[in-house]
């Protein structure tokens, strides 16, 4: 009976989440450098220009933002379950710093070539060459993966949670310091890096969406299959093992999923903070939920959050744009403060 009620509430929550996502996507189609009236006219009487703006720029941007937010939400829920820490977030294994270093190296490598045009900070998006034809996305992905590998090596495997967290912090600081040192030598690269460090959904296209969608599919399936292992782990490592859970398999698989989710997201939209941290909390605060339901709801919440933040970043200072990472930090920070205040009042 109670189980059925919980399932029914979850279904309603999902339906509401879908509705909010659809409304935000519709709003994303209307908001841009043109006025809303012009956007409505484009929808009413489409032409070649409007088709390009609406269906080749704004819609893939909205879809990509949702997918990136969903991956961050999933990463946050996995990190919090895996490390049994409500403050865990997807970047805690050093992936963001690794991606930052990868991108800065990539930009510095291409700087002497004098590339210009569209892309991060005015540098060409897909045409950057670093160690061949890797590009910024590839550099960020490789940097993130390398950082996570370094973290796992430093902690001598994945079995010691405290060592893993500590190694992640060390790797994060170390790689950030190297990035800062490199950027001090190259002010042009520093400017180009700003867009990456503050996050941007402005360069998303259908190709990025396909990549993010594929990553999401690759991540959500193993995450859902191992959800019960996370529930067992919540009771303690010894208890989980005594129940028959292989901690090594659980940790290795979920860390691989977490790494893939964060590396892909950082590669496409740069470093966007708070979404991965806040989305699982927002879901848990809304209603009572089990781990498998959380792994479905947190991505949906993360997607809607980033979509909303992207909308605000485009709306607030039209026709210019705010960096979306600044907006997510403001929304996420305010929410966490409110949560703290509410908890303090209850206690």
């Amino acid at each position: 009976m109670a189980r059925a009620t919980q399932r029914s509430r979850f279904t309603h929550w999902l339906a509401l989440g879908c509705l909010v996502t659809l409304l935000l996507t519709a709003a994303s189609l209307l908001v841009g450098t043109s006025t809303i009236r012009a956007s409505l006219d484009w929808l009413a009487s489409p032409d070649a220009q409007s088709n390009t703006v609406l269906w080749q720029i704004r819609l893939p941007r909205a879809a990509g933002a949702w997918l990136a937010g969903a991956l961050l939400g999933l990463g946050g829920a996995l990190a919090q379950g895996l490390f049994r820490n409500p403050l865990a977030e997807p970047y805690l294994l050093g992936s963001a710093s690794g991606a930052g270093l990868g991108v800065s190296l990539s930009l510095m490598a291409v700087e002497p070539l004098g590339s210009g045009g569209a892309g991060w900070g005015g540098l060409a998006w897909g045409g950057l060459a670093w160690g061949g034809q890797i590009g910024i996305t590839g550099a960020a992905f490789i940097g993130a993966c390398a950082a996570i590998t370094l973290t796992v090596l430093l902690s001598r495997g994945v079995m010691q949670t405290a060592s893993l967290l500590l190694a992640g912090i060390v790797v994060g600081f170390l790689l950030s310091a190297i990035t800062s040192l490199l950027l001090l030598r190259s002010p042009d690269t520093w400017r180009a890096m700003q867009a990456f460090l503050l996050g941007s959904t402005g360069y998303l296209n259908w190709h990025s969406c396909a990549l993010l969608a594929l990553t999401f599919a690759l991540c959500i399936v193993p995450a859902l299959l191992l959800a019960r292992g996370l529930e067992a782990l919540a009771l303690g490592e010894d208890t989980a093992q005594s129940l028959g859970v292989s901690l090594r398999v659980l940790r290795l698989t979920l860390l691989a999923v977490l790494s893939l989710a964060t590396a892909s997201t950082v590669g496409q939209v740069g470093i966007i903070g708070f979404v991965g941290l806040v989305a699982p909390h927002l879901v848990r605060e809304t209603f009572s939920i089990n781990q498998r339901q959380l792994l479905i709801a947190a991505p949906m919440c993360g997607g809607a959050l980033l979509l909303a933040a992207d909308l605000i970043s485009r709306w607030a200072v039209r026709p210019a744009e705010l960096p979306v990472g600044v907006v997510t930090a403001c929304i996420g920070g305010t929410y966490l403060l409110l949560m703290l205040w509410r908890r303090a009042r209850h206690s």
């Binding site: 109670a2 299959l225 208890t239 129940l243 292989s246 009572s288």
Partner: protein
């Protein structure tokens, strides 16, 4: 379960040193001894949760290490000394006891549902099935964790301080339950309990001291040999009280 020359060490510190013992099937054995003598370590070793430095432990005539993870989890139910306040409902927590039967997908069959219901009823936790663990008191949470262990329906129950956080009537209920599991269901029950009055209700005692095993036998044998005083390094006064025994603290 049989242990031969069991030694366990944490880093350079040896916690158990060449301990040999036999735990009788279908009996309730209580581990007794001072803090830090290795009761919890021995329970973890029996559950296969730590690697032995030396020696071996066998279950049903087969080395513990030779059992697959799943087979072992179906045969051994384990209760930790402290449990994390997980964000689960009571029924979700108890259902995890069936993990070794249902697997990763957790498809609960009628046999699993019946085992969960029996475990909840046995620990008096049925009424809280829909409540979250975070809303329960320490004692209520302990009963839920015990229900999770009972839901495994294992032939061996290893319980580290099962009466922690419980009020005296519930401590008594849990001890009665452990005895019923052993005598009624034929389970092998091994528990570490600090309260000597409760520990002496067990069928057998395995008394550990700072130097290792002091003795292993019935409560009567333990009292006759004054094993408890030897283990704790001071005089322990036990008096007969009704059908059982009671520890009488010496404050003077």
């Amino acid at each position: 379960m049989i242990g031969r020359e069991v030694s366990v060490r944490y880093g350079t510190r040896r916690v158990l040193e060449r301990l040999s013992f036999e735990i009788l099937a279908g009996a309730w054995t209580c581990l007794v001894g001072p803090n830090g003598c290795g009761k919890s370590t021995l329970l973890r070793a029996l559950a296969g949760l730590i690697d032995l430095d030396q020696g071996s432990i066998s279950l049903e005539g087969r080395l513990l290490a030779d059992w697959s993870r799943r087979e072992r989890a179906r045969r051994i139910g384990w209760l930790a000394q402290t449990s994390s306040p997980a964000d689960l409902t009571v029924s979700e927590c108890v259902a995890l006891g069936r993990f070794a039967h249902t697997g990763w997908l957790g498809a609960v069959q009628s046999a699993d549902a019946a085992a969960i219901a029996r475990a909840l009823a046995a620990t008096g936790a049925s009424d809280w099935a829909t409540r979250r663990l975070s809303t329960l008191s320490g004692g209520e949470r302990q009963r839920v964790q015990l229900a999770r262990v009972l839901a495994v329906e294992a032939s061996v129950l290893l319980l580290d301080e099962p009466t922690t956080h419980l009020d005296p009537p519930h401590q008594e209920d849990i001890c009665r339950l452990l005895r019923a599991q052993a005598q009624g269901c034929g389970a092998t029950v091994v528990s570490a309990i600090h309260d000597l009055s409760l520990a002496l209700m067990a069928d057998r005692l395995l008394v550990l001291g700072p130097q290792g095993l002091v003795g292993h036998g019935t409560p009567e044998q333990a009292l006759a040999g004054d094993w408890l005083s030897l283990a704790f390094g001071k005089s322990i006064k036990i008096i007969r009280s009704g059908a059982g025994y009671a520890w009488q603290p010496q404050l003077g």
